[in-house]
């Protein structure tokens, strides 16, 4: 198997890629919103403490009082630093933080919008603002929240998330392979059904019910191909059987008469007679072979008309002139206008000639044959009608098949009408036959271009 083109591999990888991208996007989004959420909580707390410090400061009548009261208010707050600087230095710092001085230095430009700052290797979220003290001094207060817990939490979350992401992607690949394999099951079944079909079992078909609609077209096309194969295979077998049969008959008589003649010595006249009779059989064999080859060529689409302008009325006239010799007691008539087609003169002559011979053979003494050449719907139409017994329906259906002889006693090869049809088809035309009352009409339609 070529893995590069395996649908299973490609689909599974696509699933994994898709899952990774979606999970990663989701993770980034969640991380971001957790971060935002914490920043918001911090801001709320920081601004609350800022307001508290301001309130306490405005009530205090001295720096000592401010420090005491603010210290009381902030009891139990971990990780929160509140520092107040007056005009003459630090007034308050809670807890007694090593970072307070550094924070003050770093937070010089900070206002009431929370800002992330790093001071003394620790990360803080900080707000700051002025404070009007109760004793009239203008002080500055900085409120900071140590956020290393938050960042630790988020980092941990992120690490877990990436691990989960890898696990999920791997799981997706595995599940994807299983799902795709399952999804491909109908394809394997079709393949199995197809592999059961051999030359001897061309009648088998892949069952169409139960096939997913996506594969329905494929199965239909495959079955149609089988039908065509079966048909041409059958035709080929029939063809071989026909050839064998048709060649065996003259060969048998050749062999018989030659053997019997050689059995004892005879006079020269007898030998001459034998050779002449053999010659007739050889001629028959040659003609059958030539006709079969012609039909085989037609079957393979190799019958290519050598096109020229052909005047159909004149052509029919010559044919009637020739074959008319066989129709002594038949009323033979030619009607119509001089229609021209672009076709192979020799082939068309042969096709129409074969139809004419067929008509002559099937017209009773005293009957009639009418050949009509006309133009209908931009097509040339040659119709050959003859009086006689109407054709049975099954004869009409099979009449153009090779070796079908309506009259078992006829000495023709049974290939004339098949050849006529091949020629007409090679010209892109149609040939048809119908029985009308006590007459039979063959018609050829040829495109005029």
């Amino acid at each position: 198997m070529n893995w590069k083109y395996s649908i299973t591999v490609r689909l599974s990888l696509a699933f994994a890629l898709l899952a990774t991208v979606v999970f990663a996007a989701l993770g980034i989004y969640l991380n971001r919103s957790a971060d935002d959420h914490m920043a918001e909580l911090d801001a709320h707390e920081l601004l609350g403490k800022l307001a508290l410090a301001r309130h306490v400061g405005s009530q205090a009548q001295s720096p000592t009082a401010l420090a005491v009261r603010l210290g009381d208010a902030l009891v139990g707050e971990h990780g929160l630093i509140v520092a107040v600087d007056g005009e003459n230095g630090a007034i308050f710092s809670s807890p007694e933080s090593l970072h307070a001085a550094a924070l003050f230095a770093a937070a010089k430009a900070v206002g009431e919008t929370p800002v992330r700052l790093t001071a003394g290797a620790r990360e803080f979220r900080v707000v700051a603002g002025g404070l009007q003290t109760g004793w009239g001094e203008m002080a500055r207060v900085v409120v900071a929240r140590d956020i290393h817990h938050h960042t630790d939490f988020l980092d941990g979350l992120q690490r877990d998330f990436w691990l989960a992401l890898i696990a999920a992607s791997l799981l997706t690949v595995v599940l994807g392979v299983l799902i795709v394999r399952r999804g491909m099951q109908p394809v394997r079944e079709i393949a199995r059904a197809a592999s059961r079909i051999s030359a001897g079992k061309l009648a088998e078909r892949i069952p169409e019910p139960g096939v997913p609609p996506e594969l329905g077209e494929l199965v239909k096309a495959f079955n149609a191909m089988l039908a065509r194969l079966e048909e041409s295979f059958a035709r080929l077998s029939d063809f071989s059987a026909d050839i064998a049969h048709e060649l065996r008959t003259p060969l048998h008589s050749l062999r018989m008469q030659t053997e019997v003649s050689l059995n004892r010595s005879r006079d020269v006249a007898d030998y001459r007679e034998l050779l002449a009779s053999n010659l007739e059989e050889y001629e028959r064999l040659s003609k059958i072979i030539a006709d079969m080859l012609f039909l085989a060529k037609a079957d393979h689409g190799l019958l290519i008309p050598h096109r020229e302008t052909v005047a159909l009325l004149a052509l029919c006239e010559r044919l009637l002139d020739y074959f008319g010799l066989l129709a002594e007691n038949i009323d033979l008539q030619l009607h119509g206008s001089d229609v021209q087609v672009n076709g192979d003169r020799l082939m068309l002559e042969r096709a129409i000639g074969n139809l004419l011979v067929n008509a002559i053979h099937h017209t009773p003494e005293g009957g009639w044959i009418t050949v009509d050449v006309s133009e209908q719907d931009k097509q040339a139409v040659i119709s050959i009608s003859n009086s006689g017994k109407p054709l049975p329906q099954e004869a009409i259906e099979r009449i153009f098949e090779r070796f079908v002889r309506l009259d078992p006693a006829s000495d023709g090869s049974g290939l004339g009408l098949a050849i006529a049809r091949s020629i007409v088809v090679a010209h892109g035309g149609q040939i048809a036959v119908r029985s009308v009352g006590h007459a039979t009409e063959f018609s050829i339609r040829l495109p005029r271009h």
Partner: protein, 231 residues
């Protein structure tokens, strides 16, 4: 039955199939020609270039040098003798190719020997003999320009095709004419059908030309065709 007029005509046959070649030579020799046979393309080319032949019968499928190459070499060397090629394949391309390379006629195997003989005679006659206006055999006479036929001085009424048929016979006395050759010459019908049209036509012609007269002039050679001659 050798014909004096052919005695000097030399024909070279290039054919690798042993039986076909042998019988072609025998048949042509018995028809009054001097026929030589070579069995491959190289010999065919040398003989064709060196020998003084009036006609070449050339098989297309040959060992060594094929028929096309022989034909090309001969034409390139300026040899203008008529060439009749034989092909086993009834392919339009084959025909076209042969005629383009300068062949004068072709026959598709299997063919009737009488057909070959008729073609050979046509090729050898081409451009040599002025077509005679008056033809005759024994007491049968044909005036082509006046479209009149008489036997023993008596006028015979013939249809146009019957006249053409009789003219064909009289222009080729003693030659066996196959049915397909007659159909193609008189009616321009170039395909074989399982019919006996020519037989019917000959019967009618005989009824007018031979039935009331002796000696009989039109003879049937079973399996081969017809011949007009005084026996």
């Amino acid at each position: 039955m050798p014909l004096g007029q052919n005695a000097t005509m030399k024909i070279l046959i290039v054919e690798d199939e042993a039986k076909t070649g042998d019988y072609l030579r025998l048949g042509l020799n018995e028809a009054g020609f001097t026929a030589d046979l070579v069995r491959n393309g190289v010999d065919g080319m040398h003989e064709g270039l060196a020998g003084d032949y009036d006609l070449l019968i050339l098989d297309v499928n040959l060992p060594g040098l094929d028929g096309w190459q022989v034909l090309k070499a001969l034409r390139a060397a300026g040899r203008e003798l008529p060439v009749l090629f034989l092909t086993a394949r009834d392919q339009v391309e084959d025909r076209v190719k042969g005629l383009e390379l300068g062949a004068d006629d072709y026959l598709v195997k299997p063919f009737a020997f009488s057909e070959l003989l008729a073609r050979v005679r046509t090729l050898l006659r081409r451009g040599r003999v002025k077509e005679a206006e008056r033809l005759a055999l024994a007491d049968l006479e044909l005036d082509v320009s006046k479209r009149r036929a008489t036997r023993a001085g008596r006028r015979i009424d013939l249809t146009a095709k019957e006249f053409a048929l009789l003219e064909l016979f009289l222009r080729r006395p003693g030659e066996v004419l196959s049915r397909s050759f007659i159909a193609s010459q008189v009616w321009d019908m170039n395909f074989e059908s399982d019919t006996n049209v020519v037989e019917v036509a000959i019967r009618r012609l005989r009824a007018k030309v031979d039935d009331d007269f002796t000696p009989k002039l039109i003879h049937t050679l079973r399996g081969m065709g017809y011949v007009l001659e005084l026996r």
